[in-house]
């Protein structure tokens, strides 16, 4: 210690601090110069920001390189978006430094489409595109005052099952969407599954508080709706919605689902982890689970359609591509969005990343998935059950706030702190305070 002190006090330190001061000054000047000469003269540079999924980043870059090759004098860089999306994006937008093109979920897009943060793509995107998108999928980007994004790829929930468990129960697995397990049937099977695993019956594919909306299809399966016909009026207090909440409450009250497997609880994909380790017999989840299941339990699992009740519905997963108002070259950026969402490129993107196409004309065979083609086709078929009204609700201007409210009250209901009716009433009230803000 004393030697250390002596060193610090030596003349070497003095010269060091002087030198470091000069270094700072030098670097600052260099930084300022770099900032001035940031954009190479003449080249139109675009930045595309995607979630940090290595395969997707590669595909985006490869496709963008094709685009650049066809458009001399342009360049495209693929960047990554962090998890705290709104924090990052709002801050970036405020300083006019958001990426030109953003990969954004349907649940996130509404606010930015409504408040002028995204560029209207009408005209830049070929008119015939709309014909190849289902009405709900097109509605994600298409709002009353313009087209603010093109849905690129989707995913949704189907039912994964443990082959051994289903054999022991001795139940037939639904082969068509119509045959999908009804709620009562499913609960019976789940009880049997729980008996066999000795732990839980099934799991649900949430992964954090932002994904609370993944449970919303259950409301629509029971004939309810999150927002009413006008797409604005909170309607979680209807009989149908309350019935759905009551159904969800029973999952936990009967011990069929682990209390750790709830939207707000952290720790990643809990439902998936429980399934891969044999602690549940069934799993309602999206295609991401496939990779994990292939690794942990190859050949031991199968899939069937999402559960249903009076109505059918599944989760609205996937991403749209949108152009932000920070873009210095919005026309070029819009052109890139159109290029990335061409039929060929959507197919290529989905094949590489194991995603489902947003375009209706593509089926599993067209895309040529390397593995599990039948399961992927099931997902593609299931995508047709995503209701338009749910899409409108989730891609509306207030959804980010409404999703928090949904998460809060879903939690309270499933934990048994509120009855389904109380939850429906209080959630609707809290939603109203958001929509009338």
């Amino acid at each position: 210690m004393p030697t250390h002190a002596a060193e610090i006090g030596s003349p070497a330190v003095r010269s060091l601090s002087r030198r470091s001061f000069l270094a700072v000054a030098g670097i600052s000047v260099a930084g300022a110069l770099a900032a001035c000469s940031g954009a190479p003269t003449g080249t139109k540079h675009l930045r595309l920001s995607s979630w940090n999924i290595p395969l997707d980043l590669e595909t985006y870059q490869a496709l963008a390189d094709e685009f650049v090759a066809a458009h001399p004098g342009t360049s495209v860089a693929v960047e990554v978006t962090t998890g705290q999306f709104h924090q990052w994006f709002i801050t970036r937008l405020a300083a006019d430094l958001a990426p030109d093109i953003i990969r954004i979920t349907p649940q996130q897009i509404g606010r930015y489409a409504a408040n002028g943060s995204l560029v209207d793509l009408t005209g830049a995107v070929p008119a015939e595109y709309q014909d190849d998108w289902s009405e709900p999928f097109w509605a994600i980007g298409a709002k009353a005052d313009g087209l603010f994004g093109v849905f690129q790829h989707t995913d949704n929930f189907i039912t994964y099952y443990d082959k051994r468990v289903i054999e022991q129960i001795g139940v037939d697995v639904p082969q068509t969407l119509d045959e999908a397990w009804r709620w009562d049937e499913f609960l019976e099977i789940a009880r049997e599954a729980q008996r066999i695993t000795g732990r839980y019956g099934f799991g649900y594919g949430w992964s954090g508080p932002e994904t609370a909306y993944r449970w919303m299809p259950l409301v629509y399966q029971n004939g309810g709706a999150f927002l009413g016909e006008d797409g604005e009026t909170p309607s979680m207090d209807t009989d149908a919605a309350v019935g759905a909440l009551d159904f969800g409450r029973r999952w936990y009250a009967d011990g069929l689902v682990s209390p750790a497997n709830m939207s707000k609880s952290g720790g990643g994909a809990v439902g998936r982890d429980l399934f891969t380790t044999g602690q549940t017999g069934l799993l309602l989840d999206n295609p991401e689970a496939i990779a994990a299941l292939d690794e942990a339990r190859p050949g031991e699992w199968g899939t069937t359609y999402m559960i249903r009740n009076g109505g059918e519905a599944s989760d609205l997963g996937g991403n749209a591509l949108a152009v932000t108002r920070s873009s210095k070259h919005p026309e070029l950026a819009a052109e890139l969005v159109a290029f990335l969402t061409s039929r060929t490129n959507v197919a290529e993107f989905c094949r590489q990343g194991n995603w489902l196409p947003a375009r209706s004309s593509l089926d599993a065979a067209d895309i040529g998935y390397e593995r599990h083609e039948a399961t992927m086709q099931q997902f593609i078929d299931q995508a047709a059950t995503i209701p338009l009204s749910m899409v409108r609700a989730q891609s509306g201007p207030y959804f980010s706030s409404l999703n928090s409210v949904f998460a809060d009250y879903l939690d309270l209901c499933f934990l048994g702190e509120l009855t389904a009716a109380e939850c429906g009433a209080q959630m609707t009230e809290a939603m109203r305070s958001v929509t009338t803000r």
Binding site: G266, V270, S404, D408
Partner: protein, 324 residues
């Protein structure tokens, strides 16, 4: 807090002057009383200049903008509309804010004294000549090197009730697992546990530093006078540490009120609203709801709470000094 800094050196007892090199000039630690006259006027500004400029650019300007924001409605991005004190009025009738304040109180009261008490106990124990003392000190400090995000990720993994190692261990010895973060009744307790874990090292090191500067003659004198170990701790160590305690208290309260990452990653404020604290609500208002104005007002409320706490604390210290 500022005059607090001044008081830090005040309560030292004159009996402690052991350094022969310190003349009368040294005892007058208040700045520059003897040297002022010969000093160049520009000098202090040169030394404090860089900090001042950085403060101006990256703290003061943003804070002024934030204060201005708190009087605006910025529900949509871009230009906010001036709404006077509306955001402050909204607070009065915001039920979630009440919940958040209550949770903040519970969280702060749960974390701060616990972390400080454990830190003090460890510091006292490790100030003795124990075998392996250096290693032990290092081990207790280890949790502090992990970033909040990392702590959140590790801890939600450890406390998963189904396959986390905490419950696996409890079950292995024949006990029932606990619900940890998944029940409104235990989630806050678990968070407090985790945050205390991250803090004890810091508290320990600061206390240890303070203990080492208590001259051993004092303690030995007390020991010769026949004071028991506990008496010595109570009558000598604790009062000598009072200024340290005072700083640690304020720092810990600041840390607790601003603890965001760990809670965000581990519970997202749930289950239900059971771990929604004020800073969580500020974040949610600012970015989840895109209500920058309201968030700024909430943030300023937090600052106000801290300021009031600091001032109260300071008055209490002053009182205690007068009594002594």
């Amino acid at each position: 807090m500022s005059p607090h800094g001044e008081t830090l050196t005040v309560p030292g007892t004159p009996t402690v002057v052991t350094d022969p090199g310190s003349g009368p000039a040294a005892r007058s630690t208040s700045a520059g009383t003897t040297t002022r006259r010969r000093r160049a006027r520009w000098a202090p500004y040169l030394f404090v200049g860089p900090a001042g400029l950085l403060f101006l650019a990256f703290s003061l300007v943003p804070i002024v903008i934030a204060v201005a924001l708190s009087f605006q409605d910025t529900a949509t991005l871009g230009d906010g509309a001036w709404v006077g004190a509306d955001n402050y009025r909204t607070m009065l009738s915001d039920p979630l804010l009440r919940t958040a304040l209550l949770n903040t109180l519970v969280f702060t009261v749960g974390t701060v004294p616990t972390a400080m008490a454990i830190g003090l106990a460890l510091a006292v124990a490790l100030n003795r000549p124990l075998p392996g003392r250096g290693l032990l000190r290092a081990l207790f400090f280890v949790p502090m090197v992990a970033a909040g995000v990392v702590v959140g990720v590790i801890m939600s993994w450890i406390f998963n009730p189904d396959y986390g190692v905490a419950n696996n261990a409890l079950r292995a010895v024949g006990l029932d697992g606990l619900p940890w973060l998944t029940s409104p009744r235990t989630a806050m307790m678990t968070l407090v546990l985790v945050v205390v874990w991250t803090r004890i090292g810091f508290c320990m090191v600061i206390y240890l530093g303070a203990l080492q500067s208590i001259p051993s003659e004092l303690r030995e004198a007390a020991a010769i006078d026949g004071a028991s170990r506990w008496q010595r701790f109570r009558r000598l160590t604790v009062p000598m540490l009072a200024p340290t305690t005072s700083i640690l208290l304020i720092l810990n309260v600041v840390f607790s009120l601003q603890a965001f990452d760990v809670i965000y990653v581990m519970t997202g404020g749930g289950p239900g609203f059971s771990t929604t604290v004020l800073i969580q609500y500020v974040f949610r208002s600012a970015f989840g709801d895109a209500r920058m104005g309201y968030a700024a007002a909430l943030g300023l409320l937090l600052v106000l709470i801290l300021l009031v706490f600091t001032l109260l604390r300071q008055r209490a210290t002053k009182k205690a000094e007068e009594l002594l």
